[in-house]
């Protein structure tokens, strides 16, 4: 009885259960990163740099070398790794609090330097780990524990658009925003991650893939409602697409 692969869990993921809530998109994005590493044959050549937030345990799930840095500093840590090991695949996995708030400096300047690393940026418009506080990417009017009456311009300004900003940097080589709210988008996200990793392995410079993601628990929705929320409310603010594509 021959067994042919239809879909099989990648070797680049340890066989252990996630800590994520039901319907959390972190699981999908983790899996896609692992699949691309495996498909590119880079398991033994990859160093993943985690973050602080719901993605904090990424190094426990990925079956390749991993580092747990402090909050927001992953791009600096990845810079250090990459300058020592320029031929390896070095990527960070960061949420919107980690990347777009406390880690803004590190993110911007690794793009400015054209640091040859990849950032996988999971944007779910709030701080998941600490229980749903406002993030720089929180939508206008969105209720969080620190914007109990909804985000207002007077109090907290406007959502931060990471891709649009980083695409203006000469050092960035591949910048894309994707989502995972349906199968087609999941495939596009995987393709974008692959392009980002390929950009890095070709030495073209800084790459970032922003994945619009659901946080059903903190949004107060069931997983299916959360899919619609991404589609209906996040897409108008955070349009999908490739914002930068450097070739050679």
């Amino acid at each position: 009885m021959a067994k042919i692969k239809g879909y099989q869990r990648p070797q680049t993921l340890h066989d252990k259960p996630w800590h994520f809530c039901p319907g959390c998109h972190h699981g999908i994005v983790h899996r896609l990163c692992a699949e691309v590493v495996e498909e590119m044959g880079l398991q033994s050549q990859t160093i993943g740099v985690g973050s602080v937030g719901c993605g904090v345990f990424s190094y426990n799930y990925f079956n390749f070398d991993g580092i747990g840095p402090s909050h927001g500093r992953a791009p600096a840590v990845a810079t250090g790794v990459k300058r020592v090991l320029p031929d390896k695949l070095v990527f960070t996995y960061q949420g919107d609090g980690d990347l777009a708030a406390i880690g803004t400096t590190e993110m911007v300047h690794s793009a400015v330097r054209g640091e040859n690393i990849t950032i996988i940026f999971v944007n779910n418009t709030l701080y998941g780990m600490t229980g749903g506080q406002m993030a720089p990417t929180t939508l206008m009017g969105q209720q969080t524990t620190t914007t109990p009456r909804g985000r207002t311009r007077e109090q907290a300004g406007y959502p931060m658009k990471v891709c649009e900003m980083l695409a203006t940097m000469d050092g960035s080589a591949y910048i894309a925003r994707t989502a995972v709210f349906n199968p087609a988008q999941v495939l596009k996200t995987k393709k974008a991650i692959r392009k980002a990793f390929e950009t890095q392995m070709a030495g073209l410079g800084f790459s970032l893939v922003e994945v619009l993601s659901a946080c059903p628990t903190n949004w107060g929705m069931n997983p299916l409602e959360a899919l619609d929320h991404v589609k209906d409310n996040m897409l108008p603010v955070y349009p999908l697409g490739e914002f930068k594509l450097k070739k050679e």
């Binding site: 398991q43 033994s44 050549q45 990859t46 160093i47 740099v49 985690g50 904090v56 190094y59 426990n60 990925f62 079956n63 390749f64 070398d65 991993g66 580092i67 747990g68 840095p69 402090s70 500093r73 600096a76 840590v77 990845a78 810079t79 250090g80 790794v81 990459k82 300058r83 020592v84 090991l85 390896k88 400096t105 590190e106 911007v108 300047h109 400015v112 330097r113």
Partner: protein
């Protein structure tokens, strides 16, 4: 390579790092340390190394964290306000048990302070600085030659114990020029089986500092402190001048210890039985050596360019058996006359007590 060459302290640190086979440096400009960066920006590319001017000291120390994870011999340098920004990273480096060398060319503080020499980061570096239960080996050179020797020693100790080591200088040491000789010495290379270099031929390596279950954290801290006890047992270093019969023992480190030595020599010429005890490691503090050096002492003087920080370790070290007084100046390196006058006045007091 035993040729004499005239070097500024900050340049000497940079060249020492290169001679020690350090090929990765991450830093941020700040007076009076900037020449370390400038020197390495010029020299590291010549040696095939990587130099990155980070966007902040916070980023610099985290680049050091990453480079050390990747198995490199790595260094950063800054001065007091910049070292404050690095404290978070230092705590992580200590917890993750990564080797790294951090140079602090101290300047006047608190706040923005001034650009003049200072020793006011003693508490910060010796007593913690970053969050949590950890220790930092702190070496206190007192000459440009020792900046070289201690930078090399710092690499050796940090790799031997997998712990961050700070070389504790001040603006004057960083800026002054002295003739130096680079020793024929190379910190021995150590295996780094824990490094995250890609899992070729092995399982995944993970470097992290998160221990959520309370017993895990407790065990982790005990492991760290077992190591620190080992360091305390082996690595206390100090130097002594005229301590055999010293009734007044000046305790001083770094640039201040050189002034103190001159002051002690003046006191000796004036017939006062003064001596100098110079801690070379500030942590671990050489308390046993201090006790031995102070066996004839009736008074200890802690001479520092701070408002009285090391004096606490001097008191602890001598177990409060001998009174300890403070001699200090802020914003400048004192003149030996000043220390001499202080010793002379105290000697008068001591003799009155009989």
């Amino acid at each position: 390579m035993s040729e004499v060459i005239l070097m500024k302290g900050n340049e000497a640190i940079g060249e020492a790092a290169i001679r020690a086979n350090c090929r990765h440096f991450f830093g941020y400009p700040i007076t009076p340390q900037t020449e370390v960066l400038e020197y390495l920006a010029r020299r590291l590319p010549e040696e095939g190394g990587a130099y990155v001017q980070a966007e902040s000291e916070i980023s610099a120390i985290n680049m050091v964290f990453g480079a050390s994870c990747a198995g490199a011999r790595v260094m950063t340098a800054s001065s007091s306000p910049g070292i404050s920004l690095m404290q978070e990273g230092i705590s992580y480096i200590a917890s993750a048990q990564l080797p790294a060398v951090i140079i602090n060319i101290m300047r006047g503080a608190p706040g923005l302070g001034g650009i003049h020499p200072s020793q006011a980061d003693y508490f910060q570096s010796v007593k913690g600085g970053g969050h949590g239960d950890y220790k930092l080996i702190v070496l206190a050179p007192s000459s440009v030659q020792e900046l070289i020797d201690h930078t090399m020693l710092a690499f050796e100790l940090s790799e031997k114990y997998r712990t961050p080591v700070m070389v504790f200088g001040d603006g004057m040491l960083g800026q002054m020029m002295e003739p130096v000789v680079f020793p024929d010495y190379l910190p021995p290379p150590v295996d780094r089986p824990w490094a995250t270099t890609g899992m070729e031929g092995r399982g995944p390596n993970i470097v992290h500092t998160l221990y959520l279950p309370a017993p895990d954290l407790e065990n982790h801290c005990h492991r760290l402190f077992d190591k620190y006890r080992d360091i305390e047992a082996r690595e206390k270093r100090s130097q002594e001048y005229f301590t055999d019969d010293a009734e007044i023992l000046v305790v001083s480190y770094g640039i201040a210890s050189r002034v103190a030595r001159a002051g002690v020599e003046m006191a000796r010429e004036a017939g006062i039985k003064a001596g100098l005890f110079r801690p070379i490691t500030l942590w671990p503090f050489p308390d046993l050596q201090l006790q031995a050096a102070a066996k004839q002492a009736r008074l200890l003087i802690s001479a520092e360019i701070s408002m009285g920080q090391m004096i606490e370790d001097v008191r602890l070290g001598i177990r409060d058996k001998v009174p300890v007084k403070l001699f200090n100046r802020i914003g400048l390196v004192p003149n030996p006359d000043e220390i001499f006058e202080f010793i002379k006045a105290e000697a008068g007091e001591v003799s009155k007590i009989g």
